[in-house]
């Protein structure tokens, strides 16, 4: 269990998310036919029950924090330091670029570049080994999925693999 403050914020977030589901996401996102034999058969019934359950769980989590002793500070939540935040943001950007790059340069070369970028992002002690793996693994996986499993791995027009 984390500190009271974090657990409180979490419980409030869960309650707000549950209410948003009940009053916004379900009415907007679930199409309900006009003629239904029973409310229990409605496509919205199950999500509504779950949204109510989520809200209730959030409220109970909040109540549990109220009952906790003030001195009970819970687990240490190590705050993110500057370099950690930079690396995590870097990884998120890397993942987004990796995802987008598949459509442009194909999965193999996108994977090679993503692997190589990951090696530099995390400051690998031996970059030669990392870069060698970055080149070999995606090509081996391509060979397996394309030639053995028959999966149409996306490729670009440049540097197409046989």
């Amino acid at each position: 269990m984390l500190s009271r403050r974090i657990e409180f914020v979490l419980s409030a977030f869960i309650v707000v998310f549950g209410l948003l589901l009940c009053f916004v996401a379900i009415p907007l996102g679930v199409d309900t036919p006009s003629s239904m034999r029973s409310i229990l058969l409605s496509p919205a019934f199950w999500p509504t029950i779950l949204a109510v359950g989520l809200t209730a769980a959030g409220v109970l989590l909040g109540i549990a924090q109220l009952r906790r002793k003030r001195e009970d500070v819970g687990d240490v939540f190590e705050p993110l330091v500057g370099s950690e935040i930079l690396r995590l943001v870097g990884f998120v950007v890397l993942a987004v670029i990796y995802f987008e790059a598949i459509a442009f340069i194909g999965m193999v070369w996108a994977s090679v570049l993503a692997f190589a970028a990951f090696v530099f992002l995390t400051g690998a002690p031996n970059k030669i080994i990392g870069l060698a793996a970055a080149l070999i693994l995606p090509i081996l996986l391509f060979a397996f999925f394309y030639h053995v499993a028959g999966v149409n791995i996306p490729q670009s027009d440049v540097l197409r693999l046989p």
Binding site: P43, A64, E78, S111, V119
Partner: protein, 516 residues
């Protein structure tokens, strides 16, 4: 088709060289993955799953079961040699395994771990063969209302995988159930949370969700703190297990195997508690109880027998009822579905040959584990040397290829990354991922059986109490909920007494996923 025909056909399926080959490959992958700290058996099964798409169902399933079995044993190798359990289930093995390694008797501890694991695995497989068919024939009487009440009861396993906070486990499970509602409604064919995206009409891809939750958060955790695992690998030494020592521990091995079988057959308990119960029973009954914790080989035997005894037994509810016993078997249910098979009582009638092939394959896997495990013990130094700066990006690339291969969909890769980010958030906030996955698998089954029952009864809820089977499962559910609430209250009272005021417990928020 008679029972003998099915057994004969099952034997024919396993007798192919590919079946044995995939089983050996699976056990090898599992042992290696289990032996690498930071890789779990769950992650190994999830990452292997996409490689089975192009295989015949029996080959794919045997490969995955091999990974599962190998992974459970593999965790004991680093537990003994570097005091770092490869899997949570191996934590109990560390208690006596590492002190033995410190005394230069790692070879003895590892030999005992291997023999105990193989014997317990065999006992567990035999229990599966004995009980799964019997349970399935009983479950043939089930209709949608009975299945609804059974699945509702199965959801109580969430309590077993919720870790410290039951409420957070419930939140995780509800999120999993909610995510399972995305897609076209099965009764009316209307949209649910699709918001105009054609990619979401079929719902979220199970593999993308699974890999997103179990592999990507580990990569996030490594990116945050990119350090290699420190561990002084102990030498095997020249002292190996003698037959006398093995004979002295046999009672604990057999006892531990049965403890594993009983706890494994109950959904949600898992291997780690079985290992600790088996260990404590062995200590209680052993004449060498004073030596436990200081390097007693019987302690290693009991712990390993307990956690491996679970492996076959968790497949009893999976094969007989279509309900997963733990997270790994939840993934294996997904594998069955991907191969067009629906585990449960009907599978015994429609795909009896595959069921018996699985049974025979599992028994064979115990022998294979003995051979592969022996080799892995000697090669651990090389396994432990795989640098994390190569391992983690490899997992990333493997995940992308694997998720894409399911539906040839780049959208699924995006789903995986999104779920991975949510998974890392859950990891930081101590929200367990296992209830999410179990609920995501069971959610559609629960809702479909609920609505089918109501369609049968024309909207009357009376159908859910129509007979003794539904009453039985309602009673079990109520009993389970009462026990869970009682245990939760008791645990919170004990925590209140034990937690020293103002002293935070030493648990890092950036570490890897806690035991699930």
């Amino acid at each position: 088709m008679t029972l003998m025909d099915q057994i004969g056909m099952g034997f024919g399926l396993v007798a192919q060289w590919q079946s044995v080959g995939y089983l050996v490959l699976g056990v090898t992958i599992g042992v290696i993955a289990g032996a690498i700290p930071g890789m779990s058996a769950v992650m190994a099964v999830a990452l292997t799953l996409p490689f089975t798409f192009s295989l015949q169902p029996i080959f794919g399933i045997l490969l995955l079961l091999g990974v599962y079995k190998g992974g459970v044993f593999g965790g004991s190798i680093p537990a003994i040699l570097i005091k770092t359990p490869g899997t949570p289930a191996s934590s109990a093995t560390t208690i006596d395994g590492y002190p033995l390694a410190e005394k230069g008797q790692a070879g003895k501890a590892l030999d005992m771990a291997l023999y105990a694991s193989c014997i317990a695995d065999l006992v567990s497989n035999l229990a599966l063969i004995l009980f799964a068919g019997w349970l399935a024939s009983f479950a043939l009487q089930f209709g949608p209302p009975e299945f609804f009440t059974l699945i509702l009861f199965s959801l109580t396993i969430i309590a077993g995988v919720s870790g410290d906070s039951l409420l957070k486990g419930c939140v995780s499970a509800i999120l999993g159930l909610l995510l399972a509602t995305v897609g076209l409604d099965l009764v009316y064919g209307t949209d649910r949370f699709i918001f105009g995206s054609a990619n979401l009409m079929g719902g979220l891809n199970f593999i993308a969700v699974l890999i997103g939750l179990f592999a990507i958060p580990e990569i996030f955790a490594y990116v945050r703190n990119p350090k290699e695992i420190d561990g002084d690998v102990r030498k095997l030494g020249h002292v190996h297990l003698s037959f006398t020592e093995f004979r002295h521990s046999l009672k604990s091995i057999i006892r531990g195997s049965f403890i594993g079988v009983i706890l494994g057959a109950i959904p949600g308990i898992g291997a780690a508690p079985a290992a600790f119960v088996s260990y404590s029973e062995a200590r209680r009954n052993s004449p060498n109880r004073a030596n436990f914790g200081k390097g007693e080989v019987e302690g290693v035997a009991a712990a390993e027998a307990g956690n491996n005894g679970v492996a076959g037994a968790t497949l009893i509810p999976l094969l007989a009822l279509g309900v997963p016993g733990d997270v790994t078997t939840a993934i294996i249910i997904g594998a069955f579905m991907i191969h067009g098979l629906q585990p449960g009582p009907m599978m015994f009638a429609t795909n009896g040959d595959i069921i018996y092939a699985i049974f025979i394959g599992l028994v064979l896997s115990s022998v294979i584990l003995l051979l592969v495990g022996g080799a892995a013990i000697r090669g651990f130094r090389y396994i432990a040397d795989v640098p994390r700066y190569v391992l983690l990006p490899s997992v990333l690339v493997l995940s992308v290829y694997g998720v894409f291969a399911v539906n040839n969909s780049v959208f699924d890769v995006g789903v995986m990354f999104a779920i991975g980010a949510i998974g890392y958030g859950m990891l930081l906030l101590r929200i367990p991922a296992a209830p999410f996955v179990i609920a995501f698998i069971l959610g559609p089954l629960l809702e479909n059986n609920f609505r089918q029952s109501l369609l049968m009864s024309q909207g009357s809820l009376d159908i859910f109490v129509r007979g003794p089977i539904t009453w039985f499962f309602w009673s079990l559910t109520l009993l389970a909920v009462a026990v869970i609430i009682r245990q939760t209250l008791q645990a919170s009272r004990e925590r209140a007494v034990l937690t020293p005021l103002g002293t935070p417990s030493a648990m890092s928020s950036s570490g890897t996923r806690p035991a699930e």
